[in-house]
Amino acid sequence: MRLILKNLWAHRRQNGWIFAEIAIITALSWAMVDFLVVNYYGIYFCNPAGDFEKDHLCVGQFGVLREEMEKTDSEDFGEEGLNQEEFLEHRMGGIYTIKQKLQDMPEVQSVCLTWAYLYEDLRLYNWDRFAPADDTLKTVTAACEQYYQNEQFFETQGLQTIEGSPVAEVLSRELPQDAIVITRSMAEQLFGTDQVVGKRLANVNYMYSPDGNYHQVAGYHTIAGVVEDVKGAPHERYPYTAFIPNPEVYANYETKLLLRLKPNVDADEFVKRLTPTLTKEFRAGSNVLAYLDTFNHHLERQKEKNENTLVSQLATVPLVLFAIIVVIGTLGTYWLQIRKRKEDIGIMRAFGASKMRIFCTLIAEGAILTFIATLLGDIIWLQFANSWEILSEGNIMSSSGMENDWVTQFWPHFLIISLIVFLLLLAVVSIGIALPAWNVCRRKIVEALRDE
């Protein structure tokens, strides 16, 4: 250790530059690493226990053949004397024919028409605030999904009900007008237990005014069922999701298709087979099945469009750039520095030091340099983090504000991220040092001593 510190001090003028650079980069990259770590923690480590099976799920969108529509509209509207609502039902009736045709296919397990489904649009998923009806201050913000009743929604989406809750088939049927189905974690967060069927939930609006925030109850729901945890979006950290039946009875222009295939069917193959003739095979009246895709593919496309992806990329690009800069910096500095130390290394080798020991000594020099520089960078960043309260919370909407994990606590959060920043920089610095260090260690003792 003394030798390492002595070497660092002896080359302080050259090391000073790389030290300054690491400290600056630590301070600059801290917030970006923070966001990415919290975000990826949400995506990969906060997977709910239940989730839903995605590999056999397909999604679809209907279209309207306008030329056909113009032709039939005038006849239907005039001759049959329908009112506006009946007319719309009549116009969109073809959707049910298409649905039935899909349902009759041997590969299909269940089909449902729905207002929305999980992960349908990651940019615009809805969320709302709920609280127990008798304690409206204890709120949870949850992702809200609306579905049509009597459409096998819960079975097709793949949601599992918990013990003590009505089964999926029952929940998919017609429920009372104020019904709501929530996830297990949401129930536990609000009531302290998952046995909450029949309990009342208040839908709370937070209003913002110059005098301060106040809340207002917008309506009440009765919990009709509880399902295993699912998240409103993959990057959400807490699985608070609510399913609310849509009062609409007939399909309309907004209707989407959710289709579950039998377990032995390959979804990719299924979609590939149907796509070329989709608009030809699946049309009825003025309606047409305009789009069909596997859920996984649809999800990938949603992720690409998602703001979360955008922010993650925005944070990753400078980090990669910083990493390249540090690698080149350490590589350059140590290449030149080690060249001047060839004689010392030759003597050390002559006195019995192994190649590995010398290699490790050089890497340890880099580690200590990185540790001190990162510490300085962290302290600089801490000044901002402390006063601005800018520790990342990721990009989440669903939360109660009462969670008690490492993300929500200042010191564990700060120390974990600081450690990760150090480890990342250590890896990068080690890459920069490894090449020149290995190069000099490989030299024969006689050759190294010749420089002396």
């Binding site: 000073g16 530059w17 070329p276 608009t279 990938e300 690409e304 910083f322 910096g329 350059g332 030149l336």
Partner: protein, 443 residues
């Protein structure tokens, strides 16, 4: 001649110390590449690029009508009536074109015939002048005309890329294609415009009167309000301020007419933005006035970013130059002993270094092109141009996005700044050493 000596000296040093030179050039290349990516993005957003070759003279005019109680009418453009009455007689305008503001509302699919493979397409609803204001290259056919616009004819101009995607072969002009299952006649085929040029790029161009789009350019009573953005190509020698003066002359007349028809007082804000102002706005709508000072203030932000991107690698390079100067201390000592001045030596070191920096600069410039080509389909890159990720179509790039004298100049300035930042401090520190101490290193 002196320059040649510096170059020879630098080349000799490069030969002598290949590893140092390689690392130094790599470090410079990364720095220049990152700074040039910022410059290239800025150039693509602001420079004159096909078909927007007159961006420096193009003005975008919007409007905002509010009632006396402050209620906003909800349309940020003009009606065809306003285009006819206000804009068609402008003294300072070479061309005036009206374009629908709402292409995002429509999702169009195109196919050769119903039942054939469908392609998702982007659309632009324009008038015929659009093809005069922007210099589109017509490969076949011609633009639609005023008659088509007036009659709301279902006729379209499509890009060569779309024609290829539809597998329509040649001779598509005069034939029909299906858009959202309705037939449209193709009147012209233009060379594709990169999606990064938001104002002009689309797969299909059609008269703004076609389809139900007409509902979006009409407001009851306020006859000048609508969904059309007016684009004005200024005659050479005319300025945005002159255009504003001309437009302002319509305000009192129209507002008094509006009061007499609606019985209400109205406010009318005429928004006149040059092209750069539409794409560069760091300080919010209220702070900007589109003057030269405003432009410089807005440009200072990317300039600062570029400086930061140069600064970090410069610290690296300083460390390397410092190491190298350590090795040359004795040489410098001898030269100083023979009467060489510190300033001359410093100048020499900086200029020798510049040769290495320029080599890195060229590599960095190439690297920035490669980088942009590699990331052109990513969500982040597209968001810089107001575009969304498109999983189907790859983003096309144009040569004029990368090659302009301005970009070369920026690259050179970046190299010079980086070189100064990297070499000045270590060289000066090293040259400050007393001659005796420097000569002592020779031992």
């Amino acid at each position: 001649m002196k320059v040649l000596i510096y170059i020879r000296q630098a080349l000799a040093m490069m030969k002598e110390d290949k590893q140092f030179s390689a690392i130094y050039i790599a470090g410079t290349a990364v720095a220049i590449a990152s700074a040039m990516v910022v410059a290239l993005v800025l150039h693509i957003r602001m420079g004159n690029i096909y078909p927007e070759v007159n961006r420096d003279r193009t003005i975008y005019v919007g409007s905002n009508f509010t009632r006396s109680d402050g209620e906003y009418i909800g349309y940020s453009g003009y009606s065809p009536q306003a285009v006819e009455e206000m804009f068609s007689k402008l003294e300072c305008a070479e061309v005036v074109s009206a374009v629908m503001n709402n292409e995002y509302i429509y999702r169009f699919t195109a196919c050769k015939e119903v039942g054939k493979q469908e392609v998702q397409v982007t659309t632009k609803f324009t008038d015929p002048n659009f093809f005069r204001l922007y210099e589109f290259k017509f490969l076949e056919g011609k633009p639609y005309n005023e008659e088509n616009l007036k009659n709301a004819d279902r006729c379209v101009v499509i890009t060569d890329a779309l024609a290829k995607k539809l597998q329509a072969g040649s001779g598509l002009v005069g034939k029909t294609i299906q858009l959202n299952y309705l037939p449209y006649r193709v009147v012209g085929i233009v060379k594709e415009v990169s999606p990064l040029l938001r104002e002009t790029s689309a797969d299909i161009y059609m008269p703004y009167t076609v389809e139900d789009s007409r509902a979006h350019w009409y407001v009851e009573n306020v006859t000048y309000a609508g969904g059309l953005e007016v684009r004005v190509l200024l005659k050479k020698g005319y300025t945005r301020e002159m255009l504003m003066d001309e437009l302002e002359s319509y305000r009192p007349k129209y507002l008094s007419m509006l009061k007499s028809t609606t019985g209400e007082d109205w406010n009318w804000y005429i928004q006149v933005r040059p092209h750069w102002r539409k794409t560069l706005n760091f300080f919010g709508e209220e702070v900007n006035d589109a003057s030269m000072t405003d432009l410089l203030a807005n440009l200072s932000m990317p300039a600062l970013l570029m400086l930061l991107l140069l600064l970090l690698p410069a610290i690296n390079l300083s460390g390397m130059v410092s190491n190298q100067m350590e090795a040359r201390v004795a040489e410098m000592g001898i030269r100083k002993a023979f009467g060489a001045k510190k300033r001359v030596l410093l100048n020499e070191v900086i200029q020798e270094n510049l040769v290495l920096t320029l080599c890195g600069g060229v590599a960095g410039y190439l690297l920035s092109w490669l980088f942009i080509t590699a990331v052109r389909n990513s969500t982040l890159f597209l968001s810089m141009f107001g575009r969304e990720y498109d999983p189907v179509n790859s983003v096309s790039l144009q040569l004029d996005m990368f090659f302009t004298p301005t970009l070369f100049l920026i690259a050179f300035v970046c190299c010079a700044v980086l070189n100064l930042m990297a070499a000045l401090i270590p060289a000066w520190t090293s040259l400050k050493k007393p001659i005796v101490e420097s000569l002592n290193q020779k031992k």
